[in-house]
């Protein structure tokens, strides 16, 4: 292992051990809550579409909306300042605070002020800055940075917080329960709010038409911070502006559900400052509040800091639609294990952080954690504004690849020609060109498998491309799936007598490694009266795409479409066994192919069990397939991340149940393998930790005797590593014996 890999692995191991449990409990709880809460919402998809449309329109018209907002804010008696960058914003905020002779500023949690590091600027000017969000205050006392967008101290346990309070405040009696800790914090912070001169908040949204801010909170600290002092400074990214107050509505219904699984947070403030509420002068305790003259002052600081440039960047622009709800973080297997202190960048965290950090801090910051996105796509449906977060990660990975430079390795360059510039990391080149590796592997099997299994070869693989020695490698089959199909004489159901005609797509793994599932797919389809062909089709491009090799992936897309177009024209269905390849056809190819080509391939492609489901539901007999024995203990089924994102898990379950199997499905978001990710030495332990929930579930009493089936190659390999019993693809279970 190289030293940087070693360092990375050590760092991940450290955070797994110190913060992993608290982060896992918090994020998985939020994520489960999200499913429940959006499940109660009849018009969830429509709300997402509306939210997306509002953000698309707002970002498109942003300069015009900012002008309108300036008029609204000034008409209300406030001030709008657009800051170019962090220094500019900090200078302005400091000047406002100094003009008020403020000694204490109370803050309500704001990620944008974290981005600016405004606390440091104010402290340098001898101003006391107090975070009033309970989690944020805990971090301020501990001198730490947030690890989560909305639950900044998610990595801290109750015991840890109790200890921190005890030492910081030199308490005689330790605080124990969450209630005691919260009430202690309420009292302490209440004193600070009472004496504060300036209240500072973020803003979740800002309406250009009226100058109204939308603030989403549960604790009430933002309300107190705004209503007690006479000066309010709101700091927000310029992307938070939307046209009107009515545009807030879908977000109000989506943001709490997406973030923590609350239908709505306790408080949604619509502030059109300066508010008519009187200030609260605790140093004049006996003067009725309404007697004083309310001379409120309001400053809105809109921060550009790279955002307007992101708006011009076709790929990063979507990042600006982000409403910072944290659903992408909470639904991410890797984030659930290590949290934002490993996953995140300087400020933002979770899947979308790659976009934010690239736009705000630069590629070098984004590069530090971009690898933690495995492209599993589980965040895609979780995002309330439908941002294709894995795509942003892929694009950034591509830019990192191209930007890093470095010397060429001629051996690898010669072995694996591709469209990418030289200087690509060797590991990426190896995994990205797995199609070449697989061809060589099959051609030289079983020698290749034996060689790959020897100690010197494993050491070389570890050293050059970073494959962890603890991982079993795929075992290449000498006879490929296609060769088997040719040898048996091709199709056994003649086209003339067939119910339908189908291409079984010989994906890389089915063709070279998981050959049995290919054979099972052919036998199953033929049993149901389908004329099957297995033509030569290039690999989908999933492997290079995962490594950020976008132009190589694009070339694969064009070649795959060229090879399949004639079959589609001949009205043959395209049946895909490997879910990550089907996801290419249905999702990523939209970025590469002409719209009509994409649509035709998308329309004609099916996941193999989805296809079997279709055949059974237009009249094919279930008796033609394998059914369970009388004493069958049932099936434990793990779908595949991308397959679940496409909504295809239910077809496999339905087919198995139609055939009489009792099925339980995995509850975890991701098995933790995700293509090449789990092979890499620096991520091996993280990968195994992400897989822990599925191991626990499938080894529990009600699942321990069940047959384990999984749809994806990576999932099968991870399950093989996690469990002590064999795994199969579901089509192998149903294929006629």
């Amino acid at each position: 292992m190289s030293s940087t890999r070693d360092e990375k692995a050590t760092r991940i191991r450290h955070f797994l051990a110190t913060e992993g449990d608290a982060v896992a409990e918090g994020t998985r709880g939020f994520n489960a809550g999200r499913y429940e809460s959006v499940g109660r919402l009849d018009e969830y998809e429509e709300l997402k579409d509306r939210a997306r449309a509002i953000k698309e329109d707002a970002i498109e018209r942003l300069p015009e909306l900012v002008d309108q907002l300036r008029e609204s804010v000034e008409a209300n008696g406030g001030t709008l300042y657009v800051a170019d960058d962090a220094d500019d914003a900090n200078r302005y905020i400091r000047e406002v605070v100094e003009e008020r002779d403020a000694e204490t500023v109370v803050k309500s949690k704001s990620m944008t002020t974290e981005e600016l590091e405004v606390n440091d600027e104010l402290r340098a000017a001898d101003v006391d800055v107090v975070e009033t969000d309970l989690g944020e205050w805990v971090l301020q006392l501990a001198d730490e940075v947030p690890s989560h967008i909305i639950a900044p101290a998610i990595h801290k346990s109750r015991e840890g917080i109790a200890e921190l309070f005890e030492t910081t405040f030199d308490l005689d009696e330790p605080l124990e329960t969450a209630e005691e800790l919260t009430m202690f914090a309420r009292e302490k912070l209440g004193e600070r709010i009472a004496e504060a001169d300036v209240g500072m908040t973020g803003a979740n949204f800002i309406a250009a038409d009226s100058g109204t801010l939308l603030l989403v909170t549960s604790e009430g600290n933002a309300r107190k911070s705004v209503v007690v002092p006479d000066t309010h400074v709101a700091v927000a990214g310029v992307e938070k502006v939307v046209p009107s107050v009515t545009d807030f509505q879908p977000f109000v219904e989506l943001i709490g559900r997406s973030g923590t699984g609350q239908d709505i947070t306790s408080y949604v403030s619509l502030l059109t400052p300066p508010a008519p509420s009187p200030t609260v002068e605790f140093d004049a305790p006996d003067v009725p509040m309404t007697d004083g003259e309310t001379n409120r002052e309001f400053h809105l600081v809109l921060v550009d800091n790279g955002r307007m440039a992101m708006r011009e960047d076709e790929q990063l622009k979507e990042t600006l639609y982000c409403i910072r709800c944290s659903a992408c973080a909470n639904s991410c297997g890797n984030f659930q294990s290590v949290g934002g202190h490993v996953f995140g960048g300087e400020t933002y965290s979770g899947g979308i952080a790659t976009g934010w950090e690239t736009g705000i801090e630069g590629l070098d910051v984004a590069a530090e954690f971009n690898d933690l996105c495995t492209g599993c796509s589980r965040c895609v449906n979780a995002c309330p504004v439908k941002i294709d977060i894995p795509w942003i990660n892929t694009v950034v990975r591509d830019r990192i690849n191209r930007g890093e430079g470095g010397k060429l390795d001629f051996l690898v360059e010669g072995l694996t020609p591709d469209e990418e510039s030289g200087g690509l990391d060797l590991g990426k080149r190896f995994f990205g060109n797995f199609s070449t590796v697989a061809k060589l592997g099959s051609a030289t099997a079983p020698v290749s498998n034996w060689v790959a299994g020897t100690r010197p070869a494993r050491r070389l693989l570890a050293k050059t491309v970073g494959v962890d020695p603890r991982r079993d490698l795929p075992s290449f089959q000498r006879e490929t799936f296609r060769a088997w199909f040719e040898r048996r004489g091709g199709a056994q159901v003649p086209a003339a007598r067939a119910r339908r005609e189908a291409v079984v797509y010989p994906d890389l793994y089915t063709n070279h490694v998981q050959v049995e599932r290919g054979k099972a797919a052919v036998r199953t389809l033929e049993a149901l009266g389908v004329h099957v062909v297995v033509p030569e089709v290039p690999s989908s491009g999933r492997a290079p795409l995962s490594q950020g090799m976008v132009s190589t992936a694009a070339r694969h897309a064009h070649e795959v479409y060229a090879a399949l177009a004639e079959h589609v024209d001949a009205n043959r269905d395209i049946v895909v066994v490997e879910p990550s390849d089907l996801a290419m056809f249905r999702r990523e190819y939209e970025k590469f192919l002409a719209p009509k080509s994409f649509e035709r391939l998308d329309m004609h492609s099916y996941e193999v069990m989805e296809y079997v489901y279709g055949l059974l539901h237009v009249g094919a007999e279930t008796t033609l397939l394998s059914t369970p024995d009388g004493d069958d203990a049932g099936v434990a089924y793990h779908s595949h991340c991308q397959q679940r994102t496409l909504g295809l898990e239910s077809y496999t379950v339905a087919v198995l149940e139609d055939l009489g199997y009792d099925v339980v499905t995995s509850e975890t978001e991701c098995c933790g393998m995700a293509g090449s990710f789990g092979y890499k030495s620096e991520y091996y332990e993280l990968s195994m930790d992400v897989g822990e929930p599925i191991r626990e579930q499938f080894e529990a009493a009600d699942a321990a005797n069940r047959t384990v089936v999984a749809s994806g190659t990576s999932c099968l390999e991870q399950l093989d590593a996690l469990l002590s019993r064999p795994t199969r693809h579901p089509v192998e279970l149903v294929a006629p014996r």
């Binding site: 329960t177 107050v245 509505q249 949604v268």
Partner: protein, 165 residues
């Protein structure tokens, strides 16, 4: 507002552990007496025919605000789907009265309960266009930052709703 909307509102409040009482304008004093803890501060109700009893201290000082166990305010709008009450900020310190004491009692007219957020935002858009501010409050304040859900992080620990039919 239909009877269905009002009962949907009450069901939502039930899910939030918020007690609700139905009354009529003439009996508001008694209804409030049964849901408040002394000392009580309040902000005048902007509803015709409805006023706070004289034992509610309106126009409070900061000291009275600090000592009050209950704050009574109007909610000029409520959302049935969510059990939310909407408090408009006024020079009468409505916002403070609803925020500082441990118990917040919101007085809602049945006619002001709307079914969902789309209807609520129609009215909120009118208010904000006039320069007003409002809080959509759903249940008591809460936090889970200390390792378990606790009610009353900074705002009230308990919310009670009185619906005037």
């Amino acid at each position: 507002m239909s009877a269905g909307t009002l009962s949907a509102f009450e069901r939502s409040l039930g899910r939030l552990d918020v007690d609700s009482t139905r009354t009529v304008a003439d009996e508001l004093d008694d209804a409030l007496a049964s849901v408040t803890l002394d000392p009580v501060v309040g902000a005048p109700l902007p509803f015709g025919g409805c006023s706070l009893p004289d034992w509610v201290r309106t126009d409070p000082t900061p000291a009275e605000l600090d000592e009050a166990k209950t704050g009574v305010t109007a909610a000029e709008l409520a959302v049935a789907d969510y059990g939310s009450v909407v408090i408009r900020a006024t020079p009468d310190a409505t916002e403070q009265v609803s925020l500082f004491p441990d118990v917040h009692v919101a007085v809602v007219r049945a006619a002001d309960v709307v079914p969902g957020m789309p209807e609520a935002f129609e009215r909120l858009a009118e208010w904000t266009a006039d320069g007003d501010s409002a809080i959509v409050a759903t249940g008591p304040s809460a936090t889970a930052d200390m390792g378990a859900l606790v009610k009353g992080a900074h705002g009230p620990k308990e919310v009670r709703v009185v619906v005037v039919e």
